[in-house]
């Protein structure tokens, strides 16, 4: 039950008539030599940590270690609850949870790197937002996390999820692709539609640079986690509408990887370009390298 690329994953899904999540779950049991219960409990623990990280800062905002962020999730939540929010229930809730998770992360709280700490808000943000809006139970979300894992695994195996190697498109981009694929499955899409959505995300975030102010996982990371959620929703909607993507996931992933490697070093997590090099950013972090 192993696969090296999205093409092989699709073949397995077709051959066994299984969704992506189930192929990935069985891969973990068979190839990872683990008990089904162990695998389930570990993913249930992932969801538990995700919920705490996403919900806590809305009630109790915390200042980040570097002092650049803190309190954003609560602000958006209060605007949403006042009824003036312009994004609609799913995006409002998801972006609140995504930004809250980054607040938890930046204040040394417990999070799940999914796939990285800097992009840790997107998968939980969207899945928890969808869970509330569509009244899904925890078991459905746990299963969907295996779908997201499959996409992240392909990115780790065949490209990169490190901002230092491939820029923010590899962190937030891949996290957003994971989230898009997972919600397509939850909303009844087939494996091909999941991968189509993941491909669309990578296309729409292609070239995004990694330029953290002061070198810290705070800003613009938190905003980009909200953007990652929005991109995932757009891509899922395109895919669920039955629109076929010209470029399959494997090719899009490779394109992302090539673009990432071509990014100059100052735009790959070194805090020497992009947002990090603006005068205001330099003033805020007290002078950079």
């Amino acid at each position: 039950m192993d696969f090296k690329n999205a093409n092989e994953l699709l073949d397995l899904c077709k051959k066994h008539d299984l969704p992506i999540s189930e192929v990935m779950r069985q891969r973990e049991i068979v190839e990872g030599e683990k008990e089904a219960d162990t695998v389930h409990d570990a993913m249930a623990r992932v969801l538990e940590i995700m919920k705490n990280a996403a919900f806590t800062p809305i009630k109790e905002p915390v200042r980040s270690m570097g002092g650049l962020i803190g309190g954003e999730a609560k602000k958006i939540a209060s605007r949403y609850h006042s009824g003036f929010g312009i994004c609609g229930d799913l995006l409002e809730k998801s972006m609140i949870y995504a930004m809250a998770t980054l607040e938890t992360n930046a204040s040394m709280g417990l999070i799940v790197a999914s796939p990285t700490a800097g992009s840790a808000g997107i998968v939980p943000g969207l899945l928890l937002g969808l869970q509330e809006v569509h009244k899904l139970d925890d078991e459905q979300i746990i299963q969907a996390l295996f779908n997201a894992s499959a996409i992240g695994y392909l990115a780790m195996r065949n490209a990169t999820v490190a901002g230092a190697v491939g820029g923010c498109q590899a962190e937030v981009g891949v996290a957003s692709a994971m989230a898009a694929s997972a919600i397509v499955e939850l909303l009844g899409g087939d494996p091909e539609q999941c991968l189509g959505a993941a491909s669309t995300v990578l296309m729409n975030m292609l070239g995004l640079v990694c330029d953290p102010v002061g070198g810290l996982v705070e800003y613009p990371c938190q905003n980009r986690n909200a953007a990652g959620v929005a991109n995932a929703i757009i891509a899922a909607e395109i895919s669920l509408s039955g629109i076929h993507q010209l470029i399959p996931f494997d090719e899009m992933l490779n394109a992302m990887y090539i673009v990432g490697k071509r990014l100059p070093a100052e735009l790959r997590e070194t805090a020497q370009g992009g947002c990090a090099a603006t005068p205001s950013a330099c003033a805020a972090c007290g002078g950079c390298a």
Partner: protein, 222 residues
């Protein structure tokens, strides 16, 4: 290529904010502590590259100190590791080194001193995604990750010692996944690093220590 698990993607479960600067740092110190067979009294962390520049904002210092006290990457006590270390009377310090640049960008040297005043120096690199490797013990370049149960033998570089070690292992039914030998120079101190699936038998260190050519044995259990 090693197996990439669903939990390598959805994970590690970690105290933020950075898998390389926080979780990876905690992991290195955690491994280093396991290599000390006695009570830790004093520890000095020398930080290189990106660690030296951003250690405060990333909580790298708290993570290292937490790791050295045995806290895992998801242990909330990492946040309070300064206070906890003071409470238990651990003497700790951090030294950023921005002069030496010919190292991996996320490197730390951990100098541990035990209750008898003996030192051991461990160098570790944080490789991203919470992964780490130990690349130096004292003056000898080594290479292991602690992702397997690991046996580290400090020995004389002379014929028969490796055979002796593998015999002890096979007598106890240990299946060796990887084994490598590192040395300072010919005839001096050498390190055998053995990685194995599953747990190593408790008395294996004692057995191997019986050889006059073995000066110390360390075990990092999975």
């Amino acid at each position: 290529m090693s197996f990439i698990s669903a939990f390598d993607v959805m994970g590690p479960n970690m105290i933020g904010p950075s898998s390389s600067h926080t979780a990876g740092a905690a992991r290195i110190a955690f491994l280093a502590r396991k290599m000390l067979n006695s009570t830790l009294k004093k520890v000095q962390f020398t930080l290189y590259g990106s660690f030296a520049k951003t250690y405060h904002g990333h909580g790298t210092d708290r993570a290292l100190l937490g790791g050295i006290m045995g806290f895992g990457t998801d242990d909330m006590r990492i946040r309070d590791s300064f206070e906890i270390a003071k409470d238990i009377g651990l003497d700790f310090s951090f030294v950023p080194n921005e002069i030496e640049t010919d190292v991996h960008p996320n490197t730390v040297d951990i100098l541990m001193t035990n209750e008898n005043g003996n030192h051991i120096l461990i160098r570790g690199e944080s490789l991203g995604g919470g992964k780490a490797r130990i690349c130096r013990i004292n003056d000898v370049e080594v290479d292991f990750t602690g992702e397997y149960s690991t046996l580290i033998v400090i020995q004389k570089d002379k014929p028969g010692v490796v055979t002796y070690i593998t015999k002890c292992l096979s007598d106890q039914g240990v299946n060796i996944a990887f084994m490598r030998l590192f040395r300072e120079s010919k005839g001096n101190t050498a390190y055998s690093i053995v990685e194995s699936d599953g747990l190593l038998p408790e008395n294996i260190a004692e057995e191997i220590r019986k050889s006059p050519n073995v000066s110390d044995v360390m075990i990092i259990q999975l």
